[in-house]
């Protein structure tokens, strides 16, 4: 692949990966693990303010939208060129970490939309949540750094 096309496809690779990663963190990890499997989250804890409820609705809508957007961007990349899978995976992990961090800090702590679990001391849960999000974000960013296209100024 020429140097030029490498640079040209790098942005959609990153965009697709980050969108998909943030999207699955928002729509799937939250729904399938915390709501349905562990049942730590409640559908609606009835203590939420209207502003937080509105924010939650938009989080929810964007979550599904960017998951599918990321996948269609990937499909578009695949039909045009060879996808650099390691770099894409790095972008996905970065996206998951970024969203979990955002969720852990903004929606749990700042807006108080909901908590991780109810009836327990939250400090440990918050520390594990935010710590693991930071770890994922770091791993993702490292992967992106190691897979940087040689000539691309990303």
């Amino acid at each position: 692949m020429s140097r030029h096309s490498k640079v040209r496809i790098d942005r959609p690779v990153l965009l697709s990966g980050v969108l998909f990663g943030s999207g699955i963190a928002a729509s799937m990890i939250d729904l399938f693990i915390f709501h349905l499997a562990l049942q730590w989250h409640h559908f609606y804890d009835l203590s939420t303010t209207e502003a937080a409820l509105t924010a939650d609705g938009f989080f929810h809508a964007f979550g599904w939208f960017i998951t599918i957007w990321g996948l269609f961007l990937l499909a578009d990349l695949r039909r045009r060129t060879a996808v650099p899978w390691k770099r894409w995976s790095g972008a996905v992990i970065t996206g998951v970490g970024f969203f979990q961090l955002l969720d852990g800090v903004v929606s749990h702590k700042v807006l108080g939309i909901h908590q991780i679990r109810y009836g327990v001391d939250l400090l440990l849960y918050d520390a594990v949540w935010i710590g693991s999000a930071l770890a994922l974000l770091l791993v993702g960013l490292l992967m992106l750094r190691r897979t940087r296209p040689r000539d691309a100024a990303v």
Partner: protein, 281 residues
Amino acid sequence: MDVGSAPHQMDQHDGGHGGVPAVAGMDWTVLDVVVVLLLGVGALGYALGLWAARGRSPWPLRRTLFWYAGIACAAAGLLGPVAQAAHTSFTAHMIGHLLLGMVAPLLMVLGAPITLTMRALPATVARRLSGFLRSTWIRVLTHPVVAATLNAGGLWLLYTTELFHLMHASAAVYALVHLHLFVAGYLFTASLIGLDPDPHRASMPVRSAVLILFIAAHSILAKWLYAHPPQGVEPADGRAGAQLMYYGGDAVDVTLIVLLFAGWHVATRPRTSRAPLVSPF
């Protein structure tokens, strides 16, 4: 509408909607007959269209299947056990609304009825229809912003005002609410992912923004209903109905997002092996 004095009362309500009059009487029978007739026109009209256009290029079987599945969903939402139970159970009401307002419109839009009509009609009449579809009225009604406002706005009115109560007391109000639900659902779906010709199709960013706003509004309303069920609805019933609205709405909304991007995917397919990347936005 004096339903209380109807000669043959239906089974007494168990107080689920305390204060909601029993659903019986002429008005409701007339409504059922009108619904059967309308659905019959939809089913028969499509079959006639297929017959009239039989000499033309083959019509994809899936479109026919989608159309009749849509008619079946609308029928299930309006007639029979679900519709009957919807007068006393909020959960059943929500099943009916998902079927009539979201699933049936989606399936029927995928049946491409306007395209079929165009194929079936003689060229001169088809041209006139096409001119009508280009008119300002249709253009406004099929704009995603207008269609989404009609759709979500109707839901907010229904669940946050007295309308929900009025609807169960009057067959006429019930008919209007359900007609609006279906038509708004159809216009909304068609404006986003319609297969039928749309001379003024809104751009991908506009359709995306409208869909995100609609999903947000739908899920906010569902969670709000969880905490504030309509007057007379038992809390447990209200919560079950609200969760159904949330997750059922999600299933249809996710399908809409996929179809929106699938349309973009097809429209931007590369014509050459070295085609440039195109962003949907």
